[in-house]
């Protein structure tokens, strides 16, 4: 039959208004024309969609079922229009990308891939301290953020995992465990950890304090660290130990007085890039496409 979208819209308006007069007003057309169009639709489909009464119209069961699918068709049509519109509008090609400390080496791979996917996008990196995680993204001060691990409540964020990061223990060279080739959770469960800043998101602090695994938080040093530099200072001064992902270990490796040892019996954590849900700007789509490619290539390890 090859219906056109106008016919669907007419029918939806009549069904929703329950009256031809009001539907015609809403559609900004003459009532006889609308009445005729609906009758034509019913003829075309060979099925009665409406029952006409003195006071208005009522949907037949077939009309009820058709309404659901007609709405789906119009919805799909509007999404297609929106996609075309999104491409035709002038592009905002600059992305502000939030980076927690020590993520830069991983990010440079992502940005390299992005330049292949979409050379027109420029990324401005913004270093975030540990108290600014996610908050800056949710408030719109950055457009996307690298996250490791991603937050548990994601309703307002879209996420593209990039890689799984092996965990490492960071401790002072003088620490009794500093010569171990690898460590297990039991060996460090009761160690004192470097104290996190109270404004750090709680789930994030707990992820790195291994709170869930232990069933409680560990003993904490008196520090309130909010940057990687503060963390590594506290470790080197033997005030506490810390656990972090492989990319952080790669940087702490270079710090004199600090040992980095694989934590072999704790699951790797996901590194992902996040954006606000519904923020579908082409530049952000390109960034996600680049992240997806890295994930498909087996990640950044």
């Amino acid at each position: 039959v090859a219906l056109d979208v106008r016919r669907f819209r007419y029918f939806i308006a009549v069904a929703e208004e329950g009256q031809l007069t009001r539907a015609a007003q809403r559609l900004n057309m003459a009532q006889p024309a609308l009445s005729q169009a609906i009758a034509q639709l019913e003829r075309q489909l060979d099925v009665a969609l409406l029952e006409r009464h003195a006071r208005g119209i009522r949907l037949t069961p077939a009309g009820e079922a058709f309404l659901v699918q007609a709405r789906a068709a119009v919805g799909a049509f509007e999404r297609a229009e929106a996609v075309a519109r999104g491409w035709s509008e002038p592009r905002r090609d600059v992305i502000e990308l939030g980076l927690p400390y020590t993520l830069l080496p991983r990010t440079s791979l992502l940005l390299g891939e992005l330049s292949r996917v979409d050379p027109d996008v420029t990324v401005r990196a913004r270093q975030l301290d540990y108290t600014e995680l996610i908050g800056e993204l949710r408030s719109g001060r950055v457009d996307a953020e690298m996250m490791c691990p991603p937050p548990p409540d994601l309703a307002d964020l879209a996420l593209q995992p990039i890689n799984r990061e092996q965990l490492f223990v960071f401790l002072a060279q003088s620490h009794r465990l500093a010569r171990e080739p690898e460590l297990r959770f039991e060996q460090i469960a009761d160690e004192r950890f470097v104290g996190p800043h109270p404004d750090m998101p709680e789930w994030w602090a707990d992820a790195w304090l291994l709170t869930a695994r232990r069933g409680r938080r560990p003993e904490l040093s008196a520090d309130v660290v909010r940057t990687a530099d503060e963390t590594v200072q506290a470790i080197a001064s033997a005030r506490g130990i810390s656990v972090g992902p492989a990319f952080t270990a790669e940087q702490f490796d270079a710090v004199p007085g600090v040992a980095t040892i694989p934590l072999v019996d704790v699951e790797p954590v996901v590194l992902a890039v996040a954006r606000r849900w519904g923020d579908d700007r082409p530049a952000l789509r390109s960034l996600f496409a680049a992240a997806r490619r890295l994930a498909e290539d087996g990640g950044l390890t």
Partner: protein, 301 residues
């Protein structure tokens, strides 16, 4: 912007054919008219969708994004029309039942006979379908319900099991397995099976090639069959064996073909499947099917 569905259909045809000439032929329209319609579409959406080359066309990134949404729109509109024609059949007392390579015998016949007792006014039309598509919704396009072995488990499809049938191996009379009185899965698992056209559902193909016992597809298959008749021809020529429910195998037994019980394979379930909120006669048929099944009707041959 006032796009029309028709324009999306044109665009999808050109994108799929990769050539204006072939797309125009498929749409039964003149090529200059199609070319103009596409140019008009690009002006309306304000973005270039196609790159024209001497040898044909390719999609721009915007065109690829638009194509995806345009296809979803076309599918949703077609779905609305399918749904309406299902209701239209119901209004005139018609019920279209799909089947595949199963003669409308056994439970199929019982089911229809039982329906005719309740609703003597209903006219059943049998329609032979192709191999089940990966999307069972697409397979059911154009019919109100279908009889199938290996009922799909997907949202939006209702399933009423009717009977279970043991499986049989069908071979050419000159095949070396043909003299066996019974076979076990282990006897046939490494045989050459009929290849199925790749557009068929993998779950469905895998059921008939005993993949669940092997943990994967057969090592050897023939060229790909597109219809049940082609699989029968391949079996009759001795190229391959085929596995079918006994009820399907029986009519094919002849001087050229033998069927041998496959005694340790789990049986095939014949089921009525349909999509709700369509032809209301399907609900009557389904309740008849439930009554038949629960009243201890013959559980297969």
């Amino acid at each position: 912007m006032a796009l029309e569905l028709r324009q999306m259909r044109y665009f999808a045809a050109v994108a799929e054919e990769g050539q204006l000439t072939r797309a125009a032929r498929r749409l039964s329209m003149a090529q200059p008219a199609l070319s103009q319609a596409i140019a008009q579409l690009e002006i309306q959406v304000g973005v270039k969708l196609l790159e024209r080359h001497a040898r044909g066309i390719t999609l721009t990134p915007a065109g690829a994004a638009f194509l995806e949404k345009a296809r979803a729109t076309i599918a949703a509109a077609a779905e609305a029309e399918q749904l309406a024609s299902s209701w239209a059949r119901g209004q005139t007392g018609h019920l279209t039942l799909g089947f595949l390579s199963l003669m409308p015998t056994g439970p199929g016949r019982d089911l229809v006979a039982a329906l005719e007792m309740v609703r003597p006014d209903v006219l059943i039309q049998w329609r032979e379908l192709g191999f089940p598509a990966p999307d069972p919704h697409a397979w059911l396009d154009g019919v109100d319900a279908a009889l199938t072995f290996v009922p799909p488990e997907v949202p939006g499809i209702e399933v009423q099991p009717l009977a279970e049938y043991p499986l049989a191996v069908v071979t050419a009379a000159h095949h070396r397995l043909a003299t066996a009185t019974e076979l076990r899965v282990a006897d046939v698992i490494d045989e050459t099976f009929c290849g199925f056209d790749g557009s068929a559902s993998q779950d469905w193909i895998g059921f008939w090639t005993l993949d669940r016992y092997r943990g994967g597809p057969p090592r050897k298959t023939t060229t790909l069959a597109v219809t049940p008749e082609e699989t029968t021809a391949m079996v009759a020529s001795g190229q391959a064996i085929s596995v079918t429910p006994t009820v399907v195998a029986a009519p094919f037994e002849s001087a050229a073909l033998v069927s041998i019980p496959l005694i340790d394979a789990s049986p095939a379930v014949l089921a009525l499947i349909w999509r709700p909120s369509r032809n209301p006669l399907v609900q009557t048929l389904a309740s008849v099917a439930r009554t038949l099944t629960s009243s201890g009707a013959p559980r297969g041959a």
